[in-house]
C-alpha cells in the first residue's frame, strides 16, 4: 500500500509537472504578447473508459485482451512503474474512491426533492454519522413522523413508493428523474394506482416495514442508493415487498439492482419494475414466493 505521505509526494510531483507544463504554455503565450494567465483545463481522468483502455505495452494479442477487459469492470492490465502503479492509475483509483465517499456522505439535494414534489420524512437518525453507525435507527420513525405520514399520504394504496438516500445520494440524483416517470407510466398502463410518493432522509430498505404498516399498502417499493463501489457511485436498487410488515423475513423482498448508466438504464428498469409490481399484485406474493 502507498502511505499517505508517499501519496502526497506523488500528487505534489504531478501538480508540479502540470504547473511546469502550464508555465511552458505561459512562456509561449508571453511571446505571443499575452501576459494574462490562461484558464486552462486539466483533462478529467474519470472520463476515460477503463474497460477500453489498453495499458499493457507490446501485448501479444491486444484485441483479445481488450475483449477480456470489456467483460469486467476489474482493473485489468494497469501496468506499473517499477513495483508501483502508474500515476494515472493511482489518481484514477483515488478519484473513484473519492466519488464513492462523496456518494455516501452528501445528501440528496433539496432541489431534486422539490422538483419531484416530494415531502420528506426522516428516520430516527439525526445525522449521517448516526445513520451509518446505527442501522437499527434507520428502520424506525418517531410516532410524530408516522402520524404526519398517515395524515399527508393516501391510505391503503395499491403501491406505496418512496425514495431513500441509502448509501448513495449520487445514485438518486443520477436516476430518479428518469426512473420515476417510467414506473408511473408503466403502472398507469396496468391501471395500478400509486399512493403518495415521498422521500425518506437517512432511509434504509427496512424503513419499508413501518411505512407499509402505517399506510396499509399492498406493495411497498423503495428506490435506494446502493453502497457505492469503484466501478460506479451511481448505482441504484429497487426493493419491493407485498404487504411488508415489521419482522417479516428478508426472503419476502424482491430486488432489482444495478440500475445505472453502465448497468440497466433507469428508464428500462422503471418499465420492468412496473411489470414486477403487477406480478406481485396478481400473485399476492413477493420475494421467493413470487414467480416471474
Amino acid at each position: 500500500m502507498v502511505s499517505e505521505n508517499e501519496l502526497k509526494t506523488i500528487i505534489e510531483e504531478v501538480i508540479k509537472n502540470l504547473d511546469r507544463n502550464n508555465l511552458g504554455d505561459k512562456e509561449s503565450n508571453k511571446s505571443g504578447g499575452n501576459s494574462e494567465i490562461e484558464a486552462g483545463e486539466i483533462p478529467d481522468i474519470t472520463e476515460v473508459d477503463l474497460q477500453k483502455e489498453m495499458l499493457v505495452p507490446e501485448a501479444n494479442n491486444q484485441e483479445e485482451f481488450l475483449k477480456l477487459k470489456a467483460k469486467t469492470s476489474a482493473r485489468l492490465g494497469v501496468w506499473r512503474a517499477g513495483p508501483r502503479y502508474k500515476t494515472n492509475t493511482l489518481l484514477r483509483f483515488r478519484a473513484d474512491h473519492a466519488a464513492a465517499m462523496d456518494a455516501v456522505f452528501t445528501g440528496v439535494s433539496e432541489e431534486l426533492i422539490n422538483e419531484m414534489n416530494f415531502d420528506t420524512y426522516q428516520t430516527l437518525c439525526s445525522d449521517k454519522d448516526e445513520f451509518l453507525t446505527r442501522p437499527d435507527l434507520g428502520k424506525l420513525f418517531s410516532d410524530q413522523t408516522l402520524a404526519e405520514m398517515k395524515n399527508n399520504c393516501q391510505s391503503n394504496p395499491q403501491v406505496q413508493l418512496y425514495v431513500a438516500d441509502g448509501l448513495s445520494s449520487t445514485a438518486i440524483e443520477a436516476n430518479l428523474r428518469d426512473i420515476f416517470p417510467a414506473i408511473k407510466q408503466g403502472l398507469e398502463g396496468y391501471n395500478i394506482e400509486m399512493g403518495t410518493p415521498f422521500f425518506v432522509k437517512f432511509g434504509r430498505v427496512a424503513s419499508m416495514e413501518p411505512i407499509s404498516e402505517c399506510l396499509n399498502a399492498d406493495v411497498s417499493c423503495v428506490l435506494i442508493g446502493e453502497r457505492p463501489g469503484l466501478a460506479t457511485a451511481e448505482s441504484m436498487s429497487c426493493y419491493m415487498a407485498y404487504k411488508a410488515e415489521i419482522g417479516m423475513p428478508e426472503a419476502r423482498r424482491t430486488v432489482i439492482s444495478n440500475i445505472h448508466s453502465g448497468g440497466t438504464s433507469a428508464v428500462e428498469a422503471g418499465a420492468h419494475i412496473a411489470d414486477v409490481i403487477k406480478a406481485m399484485l396478481d400473485q399476492k406474493a413477493s420475494g421467493l414466493d413470487l414467480e416471474i
Binding site: P181, A182, N258, T264, S265, V267, A271
Partner: protein
C-alpha cells in the same frame, strides 16, 4: 432453463435433408437483476438420411414426394408438428430457380410447424451454410476474417465472417452436379452456363455423348481457378464474372482462413482413391482440382464443423434469435411473418422530432401497404442510455411517422438494438389514442431490406423468438 425444438429442412440442387435440434434458453442474469435470457446451447439431436431431391421435370420439384420424405422423417425422429417451436425451410442452389420453388417452400413451412419460416435467396443461403459450417464461431475464436465456401450441386455459396458476424456474401454458379453422367459416362445433363464455359475451352460436350476424363478435368480446373479468384485482388476474369449468380463480394479483403462445406467439401478435405464417378457427376473431380488450386494451397484451410449438412444444420440451429428480455408486446398476435424493415440510420436518429417523423414517413412510402396487406416494422439502434424525455420524443415521432400503419390497424412494430424496448413500448401505449397492437423489441440488429418473422413468446413470455432473413447482402 427451457428447451425448444427447431427444425431445419434443406431442399438443395441435389440433396434434400431434415434435422431437428434442441435450442436451450436460460436466464443468465442473477435473481436480483433485470432478466437476460439467452440461447445457451444448440444441439442437433436428429439427422435424416440424405435424399436426392425429387424432381418432376428439369423445371419442377416433386412436392408430393418431398412432403412424404419430411413426414416420414418427423415420424422417425419421433417429433410432432406441435412440438416444433421454430425452424426454417430453405430451398437452395439450382432448386430455388425451379418454377414451383416458393410455393413448395411455403407449403412445407406450414407442414413443419407454426413458426417454421420459408427462406430463399443466395445470400441467406450463404449465411446459413457458413454458420452451419461453424465459420462464424471460428472467426470469433481466431479474431480473423474467415470465409466459407459451401460447394453444393448447383452453386457455391460464399460467406465472409468477422468476429462472429457475417460481413459479406457472394454466390457463384459452380457446383458438382452442373454436369451429370450416366453409368457409361455419357452426358446426361449440363447447365447452360457450364456448356458455354466448355465451348469457350474448345470442348464439345453433347447430351448422350461420352465425356472423357480429361475433358472433365479441364472444366473442373477452370471452375477451381474461378473459385480461387474470389480471394485474389485485382481484375476478375470474364469467366468469373460470367459465373456470378447474383453478386460478387463487395470489395477485396485480405483473407487467410478458409473453410469448405457442402457435398463437394468432403472430397476436398479427404484424399479420395476410389471411383471418381461414384455420383455420376463432376463433384469428386472438382474437389480434387480445388485441392490442387491456390485457393486451397495458399490459404489456411480449416475443417468445417459440418460439410454436406452445413446448410440444413444452419437452417435448423442458427436461424433463430432471441429478443431482449425486457420488451413490450400485445398478446395473441404471433406468429408474424415476412415483415419488411425500414431502418433509421444512426445519423437520422439524431434528427429533431419533426425531421425524424418526415424520415419515417418517407421510408414507409417505399411500401405499398394496401398491396402488401401487412405491416412494416421500424428499426433503429437506439441510445444506450435514453432519458425519459428522449423516450417520450422518440415514441411521439414513431407514432406520428407510422400513422399509416396505425390507421390500417396493423400492429405497430419497433425494433431496437439497445435495451430500451420495454419503456419505449409502454410509452407508445400511453401516447396512442386508441388501444392497438404494439410490439417493441430490442437486442435485434436488422437492416433495410431484411425481413423478420416473430414467433410466439418463450420463457414465461419474457422473450420473443425472431428469425431475420437477410435478402440483400453486400449490395
Amino acid at each position: 432453463m427451457e428447451k425448444i425444438i427447431s427444425v431445419g429442412i434443406d431442399i438443395g440442387t441435389s440433396t434434400t435433408q431434415v434435422i431437428f435440434s434442441h435450442i436451450t434458453i436460460e436466464n443468465l442474469a442473477s435473481a436480483y437483476s433485470v432478466p437476460q435470457i439467452d440461447i445457451i446451447d444448440k444441439n442437433v439431436f436428429y439427422k435424416s438420411e440424405i435424399y436426392f431431391t425429387p424432381l418432376i421435370s428439369e423445371t419442377e420439384i416433386d412436392g408430393q414426394e418431398i412432403k412424404k420424405i419430411i413426414e416420414s422423417e418427423f415420424k422417425k425422429a419421433n417429433v410432432a408438428k406441435k412440438d416444433i417451436s421454430t425452424g426454417a425451410v430453405i430451398i437452395t442452389g439450382e432448386t430455388a430457380r425451379k418454377k414451383n420453388a416458393s410455393l413448395i417452400s411455403e407449403q412445407l413451412s406450414d407442414l413443419a410447424g407454426d413458426f417454421v419460416v420459408a427462406t430463399a435467396g443466395p445470400d441467406l443461403e450463404s449465411i446459413i451454410a457458413g454458420k452451419g459450417a461453424g465459420a462464424d464461431k471460428l472467426s470469433e475464436k481466431l479474431n480473423k476474417l474467415v470465409i466459407n465456401f459451401d460447394i453444393g450441386g448447383g452453386t457455391t455459396n460464399i460467406a465472409l465472417f468477422e468476429s462472429g458476424q457475417v460481413i459479406d456474401t457472394a454466390c457463384l454458379d459452380v457446383g458438382g452436379r452442373l454436369i451429370q453422367l450416366d453409368e457409361q459416362n455419357r452426358l446426361q445433363y449440363i447447365s447452360k452456363k457450364i456448356k458455354k464455359l466448355a465451348a469457350d475451352l474448345n470442348l464439345n460436350l453433347e447430351i448422350g455423348k461420352k465425356v472423357e476424363n480429361s475433358e472433365l478435368e479441364i472444366i473442373a480446373e477452370k471452375m477451381a481457378s474461378v473459385l480461387s479468384e474470389v480471394l485474389k485482388a485485382g481484375e476478375k476474369s470474364s469467366d468469373y464474372n460470367y459465373l456470378i449468380t447474383n453478386h460478387d463480394l463487395s470489395k477485396n479483403y485480405a483473407i487467410n482462413y478458409v473453410s469448405f462445406s457442402g457435398g463437394v467439401a468432403d472430397y476436398i478435405n479427404n484424399d479420395h482413391s476410389g471411383d471418381l464417378y461414384k455420383y455420376n457427376d463432376l463433384g469428386i473431380i472438382l474437389a480434387q482440382k480445388i485441392r490442387e488450386s491456390s485457393l486451397y494451397k495458399d490459404h489456411q484451410v480449416y475443417q468445417a464443423e459440418e460439410t454436406i449438412r452445413a446448410t440444413v444444420v444452419g437452417a435448423g440451429s442458427h436461424t433463430t434469435d432471441i429478443s431482449g428480455s425486457t420488451i413490450t408486446y400485445t398478446d395473441n398476435i404471433f406468429p408474424l411473418k415476412n415483415i419488411p424493415i425500414i431502418k433509421i440510420t444512426p445519423e437520422e436518429e439524431k434528427l429533431s422530432k419533426e425531421e425524424l417523423v418526415k424520415v419515417i414517413k418517407k421510408k414507409l412510402d417505399w411500401y405499398d401497404l394496401d398491396f402488401e396487406a401487412q405491416t412494416v416494422a421500424v428499426a433503429m439502434k437506439g441510445k444506450e442510455n435514453f432519458n425519459f424525455a428522449e423516450i417520450t420524443e422518440l415514441a411521439e415521432a414513431i407514432i406520428a411517422g407510422m400513422e399509416k400503419i396505425i390507421k390500417l390497424d396493423f400492429p405497430l412494430i419497433v425494433i431496437l438494438e439497445n435495451d430500451a424496448a420495454k419503456v419505449l413500448g409502454q410509452t407508445i401505449n400511453r401516447l396512442s389514442k386508441e388501444p392497438k397492437a404494439v410490439v417493441s423489441l430490442d437486442g435485434i440488429k436488422v437492416d433495410n431490406g431484411d425481413y423478420i418473422d416473430i414467433g410466439k413468446p418463450l420463457a414465461r413470455g419474457k422473450v420473443l423468438p425472431v428469425i431475420i432473413k437477410t435478402l440483400i447482402f453486400g449490395k
